[in-house]
Amino acid sequence: MGHYQPSRVVTNDELAQLVDTNDEWIRDRVGIATRRIAGDETVADMATAAAGKALASSGLTAADIDLVVVATCTSVDRSPNVACRVAAKLGIAAPAAYDINTACSGFAYALGTADHAIRAGAARNAIVIGAEKLSDFTDWTDRSTCIIFGDGAGAAVVTAAAEGEPAGVGPVVWGSVPEKSDAVRIEGWRPYIAQEGQAVFRWATTALAPLALRACEQAGVDPSELAAFVPHQANARIIDGIAKRLNIPDAIIAKDIVESGNTSAASIPLALSKLVERREVPSGAPVLLFGFGGGLTYAGQVVRCP
């Protein structure tokens, strides 16, 4: 794993100078204390930085990588895609390279596609990245959204298991709710993010726990065995709401949202990379990832902690 965040920390007090809000309100409603906001860095720059660190920590080299998948919904350039830019910058010579956009559930989707490619024999060593620069799409005059989002990237190296070695990535449970397409939007030309907060909160806190439990079931892992739960870092109260329904009192619940805000597809790999870096979860222990967001889409799987 590896992650990258821009150096600029933006506090709630700074946002209170832009819009009518305050630190207490933001902490209470969404559970965010600070977020990182990019300067000149592009989505590809942040993705490359995170991927470079993941590659270094994996012990593999650029020559070993044959697949690069980037989950993002905030890349401005239409072509080349972010995956090709990352590959070029890291000196990965000829990988299969593609971006996917399922908004905030992107990393779990990307991990699912990489897992499938490796299982099918179409790839051996993949880099899976979630990278977002949401600040490019944030309306800094809208107090209901500008307090939520942050920028950053996280990445994981995923390799084929050796003969007889247990799978590190469990079966993905994924899907969408197309009838709720309007609940989270980045629509049109030069758009801003907009969402129906109550509808998203309701869906997230009621519909997702059963799907997350299905991911455990498909991986053959009892929820009580989970060492950690790393959901998309949308809102601390959504995270608490899902965790309560999963009934996993002993698992670490990732709360990187407090310091990083909501970074969409980057939030799961960012949070997981930090847990790994701090050695909070033993290597090999089961961790439940679950992404959800615009679409509405969702995807999750149990992985063995790197």
């Binding site: 129906e196 109550q198 909160f201 309701r202 806190t205």
Partner: protein, 79 residues
Amino acid sequence: MTRDEITSGLAEILEEVAGVNPDDVAEGKSFTDDLDVDSLSMVEVVVAAEEKFGVKIPDNEVQNLKTVGDAVSYIEAQS
């Protein structure tokens, strides 16, 4: 169910979800202004009320439920 029964059922939910003192819950009270229930807690109240009273309260209806009395009337009409 009588309106009083629905009100006391809502009071139980409000206490559990948002820490509202049940004695403060009455039909004339506004969820946000009088009982300090924020927009996300209101969603939790609605979800719990659906379960408790066996009714459906769609997303677009939630914003019309300004007071406890509004919610009691809606639940009474649905059940």
